[in-house]
């Protein structure tokens, strides 16, 4: 078997104020898999994501990304990890901080040492993947929310990550933008972890789902199985939209 893209073992974490967010999370994601990370608000989803690239230091347990240990004390290795784990944040305004779309997409690869024509072609390729190449010289605040979300995905794709982590990718999108983003995400040949409350979106994009509740993984299986288990969903404050049913 290949090395998994993401391997989390017994990860536990408490905030400095003593509030424990994770109580021993185990999760393994294989290369090319798309996994939905479901769970109610306050389940620790964002905390878990922040561990994946060493923003939160691992205090207990371990995380490996493509076989490499996430160790926030090792400056060189953390730099490689952050290139391997691409996080798309929920609010694109937090992610797009440079004056133009092109410069923002260039930010990550620049930090990885890319320059000149090499950098230009990476930026163009990434913007092309999300269909935003024509907006390269525009400032982000002139774009619609859906366009900004797509550019946010491009900023991360430009780093050629091993694994793409999306925090609530469908939030605040109108139906057409939501579908367009789904098409883009489906077209990418990359390992993906998608944090979401949007169960139909998870069903559409991810074959596998895990439920995080109270700082532990309480369910791990095929999305179809999980979403058809109404007792499991109810126990974890998850609900399918009214009128939506899975056969």
């Amino acid at each position: 078997m290949n090395t998994p893209s993401l391997e989390i073992k017994e990860l536990a974490f408490a905030y400095p104020d003593g509030n424990q967010a994770l109580y021993g999370v185990n999760l393994s994601v294989q290369q090319g898999e798309r996994v939905a990370l479901l769970g109610p608000n306050g389940a620790g989803k964002t905390t878990l994501v922040m561990h994946m690239n060493g923003i939160h230091p691992t205090s207990h347990g371990s995380i490996h990304v493509a076989g490499q240990l996430v160790d926030s004390k090792n400056k060189e290795s953390i730099k490689e990890i952050r290139a391997k784990v691409g996080i798309v944040f929920q609010d694109p305004d937090d992610q797009l901080f440079m004056p133009t779309v092109g410069e923002d997409v260039a930010f990550g690869p620049y930090n990885m040492g890319k320059r000149g024509a090499d950098l230009d072609s990476i930026v163009d390729d990434a913007l092309n993947l999300v269909g935003m190449l024509e907006f390269k010289d525009r400032p982000p605040h002139h774009l619609s929310f859906g366009q900004r979300r797509r550019v946010a995905v491009a900023t991360v794709l430009a780093m050629k990550p091993e694994i793409l982590v999306l925090d609530e990718p469908s939030s605040n999108l109108d139906p057409a933008s939501r579908r367009e983003l789904a098409d883009i995400l489906r077209s990418l040949d990359i390992t993906m972890v998608m944090v979401t409350h949007d169960l139909p979106y998870a069903y559409e994009l991810c074959a596998r789902s895990v439920i995080l509740k109270g700082g532990v993984i309480v369910a791990d299986g095929s999305t179809h199985e999980i979403l058809t288990n109404s007792a499991l969903l109810a126990a974890n404050r998850l609900e399918l939209p009214v009128g939506f049913s899975i056969k």
Binding site: K79, R82, I87, F89, F97, F107, Y110, P139, M159
Partner: protein, 240 residues
Amino acid sequence: MHSLPSHLKIIAALAFILIVVSTPVTQWPAFIAYFIWLLTVVLIAKIPVSLLLKRSLIEIPFVFFAILMPFFGSGEKVQVGPFDLYREGLIAGSGIVVKGTLGVMTAIILSTSTTAREILRGLERLKLPMLMVQIASFMLRYVNVVNDEMERMKVARESRGFEATGIKHWKVLATAAGALFIRSYERGERVHLSMLSRGYEGVLPQEHQYKINGSTWLAAMVYPLVAALIFVAQLLIGKM
């Protein structure tokens, strides 16, 4: 003119202002010449004069006291129309108004012919400390975001029947300002997190330095050079 490298334009504007400021205000023909030259540049740059005048209004609070100066002071008095004005104050006041107006109009020419982003790039090329350029460029990026947030908070207040009419509503406004500050601060933290996630290590991507040939330099420097000629001319005339 719009396409000149921004850092040259910044240098040219600064040089022009320095020359204007160092001309003694008593040499008033020189100032008329400066004004004519400035208006010529405005016309060449195809900046609408109405826009120039409208933006110049920003100067008013700054020259307000200069206008008052001739009314207060001591020493020799001169009769100007219906007013009995102090000579010293008149000279100092008119100096501030005239030089201030030339300075402001130069800044307006710079800002209308250059995007804010380009001015920042220019400052970066002029080796302004990176930290200052970064702060200014983040301000530029987020001023709209924060403004929208402020607008939404205002709409939310008004939707619940609030209307700021007097001092008794300052408490509400102060609370809103506080909330806006906290929100912006938190956003700052989230932006920083997202920067770290993409490998930020304290340096923003910098453009490659590019070579500028003599004719570009010359084109950019025509603006202060003509002013310098006027300056030299008034010196010579003054000596005669």
